[in-house]
């Protein structure tokens, strides 16, 4: 009679099973509510980021904005750069207010605050990843983009960016549950971080003083690693993955702690 997984004491494995099930259910619900069943439906998941990336690519190409790219074509530069931005910016963006928007779901005892956040992050990461793969394949097929030199490094850079997006989104997403102020402040921050995040430049182009400054931003190291993998020795890259990993670890722990605290404070209307 007891519904499986609900009965206490629930061991760690059992909790993990429940969490997987809950996130799966939330994913399906979220995808339908956000993209609907009309026109291309779930394909908007990658359609949205693709349109963004294509827009930026066109803009940069027309404006010849990227100087000193040297051996890298603008398209290659824009696709790798802007896709990386989407990883953290969209994850955080959709986690803002996620708890308040889904507060009624907490009436289902299995649904936890972390599940709500992880669901939204997974969707954004999946969308950005799919968009990156489709665009990169397309531009490679028409000969505007050379295939990656070292796929393993590209993957490593991408995973690091995904981790960064996850940890930052957990933290900021939880913080927005404390105060709307966080959400208001995040938007200008995201806007200002974009040009500094390494999407539009390579660290090597900067004067050495500025190089050190921008390298405090964790996401830069992910983008540099990704480009190292994509373009190989055609570019000089500067990255410190242990530093980025440390930042992500701190943010992940902070995010999990905050999410737990939010679930204690949450008040239904």
């Amino acid at each position: 009679m007891s519904t499986d997984g609900l009965s206490a004491p629930a061991g760690f494995r059992r909790s993990l099973t429940i969490q997987r099930r809950v996130i799966g259910a939330l994913l399906m619900r979220e995808v339908i509510t956000r993209f609907g069943r009309n026109n291309i439906g779930v394909l908007w998941l990658l359609g949205e980021p693709m349109i963004f990336t294509l827009g930026i690519t066109t803009l940069w190409t027309l404006a010849h904005l990227v100087h000193g790219a040297g051996s890298i074509p603008v398209v290659a530069f824009a696709v790798t750069g802007y896709s990386s931005v989407l990883m953290w910016r969209n994850s955080v963006g959709h986690c803002c207010g996620a708890v308040q928007q889904n507060i009624n779901l907490l009436y289902h005892r299995n649904v936890q605050v972390t599940d709500l956040l992880i669901t939204r992050i997974l969707i954004e990461v999946a969308g950005a990843t799919a968009s990156f793969i489709v665009l990169a394949s397309f531009f490679t097929a028409i000969g505007w983009l050379a295939p990656p030199v070292d796929l393993a490094l590209v993957l490593a850079g991408w995973l690091m960016l995904a981790w960064f997006g996850l940890s930052l989104a957990m933290t900021i997403g939880s913080l927005t549950a404390y105060s709307h102020l966080v959400e208001r402040l995040w938007h200008p921050c995201a806007y200002l971080l974009f040009p500094m995040s390494g999407a539009a430049f390579m660290v090597d182009w900067l004067p050495s003083g500025m190089q050190r400054t921008v390298q405090y931003l964790p996401m830069i190291h992910g983008v540099e690693l990704l480009r190292k993998g994509y373009f190989g020795n055609a570019v000089r890259t500067h990255f410190d993955i242990p530093y980025m990993a440390m930042c992500c670890t701190v943010l992940t722990v902070t995010g999990l702690f905050l999410a737990r605290d939010v679930s204690r404070r949450v008040e239904q209307e």
Binding site: L106, V266, E267
Partner: protein
Amino acid sequence: MIHIDGVSKSYHTRFGRRTVLDRVSLKLERGRNIGILGRNGAGKSTLIRLLSGAERPTSGRIVRNMTVSWPLAFGGAFQANLTGLDNLKFVCRIHGVDWRTKVQFVEEFTELGVYFREPVSHYSHGMMSRLGFALSMAVEFDCFLIDEAMVVGDRRFHERCHVELFHKRKDRAFVLVSHDPGVIKLYCERACVLVDGHLHDFPTVDAAYDFYNALPAAPPASVEV
């Protein structure tokens, strides 16, 4: 068993912290039931929210050794642009139930017809209520939480809810909160009275009933949270 052990809950208001439940303790064995009587603002809904796990106690703890439902017929967790069927699937997936085995029951109980596959935003109040109740029944919980004020609808609907809950599932535990002593007397074997966040336990429903009716006529000035 559900064990509520010294649970307090307070909320921040613009006038400082306000304690809604003050060191409440209660035990409910498997298959047993209890009615909780209280006036508006006594803390009934808060207690239900804590029992369902939608909110956490400020202090004290709640131990659940059986599965506890969300408040019966609660429709707040519905996604308006999902269909009734989508909502059934969602609830079933969350609780690890195969939704395919529940479609027939929910369709028959709700009598929604074609609307079952239409977005919930097109539903009337009564349709929402029927869907909410049916979904609560689709997951076979050990213990049901019933906020009597939440179950709205016509007499026929009430009768059918009655059959599902008190006849077909009479082996289950339940907690029923109400401001109406008549309802508690009708369904519960035991009753408590919640006054200003304090829970008074009584051996019999009649004793609780007498205590509740003897309370001062004017309820203390408090705000429903």
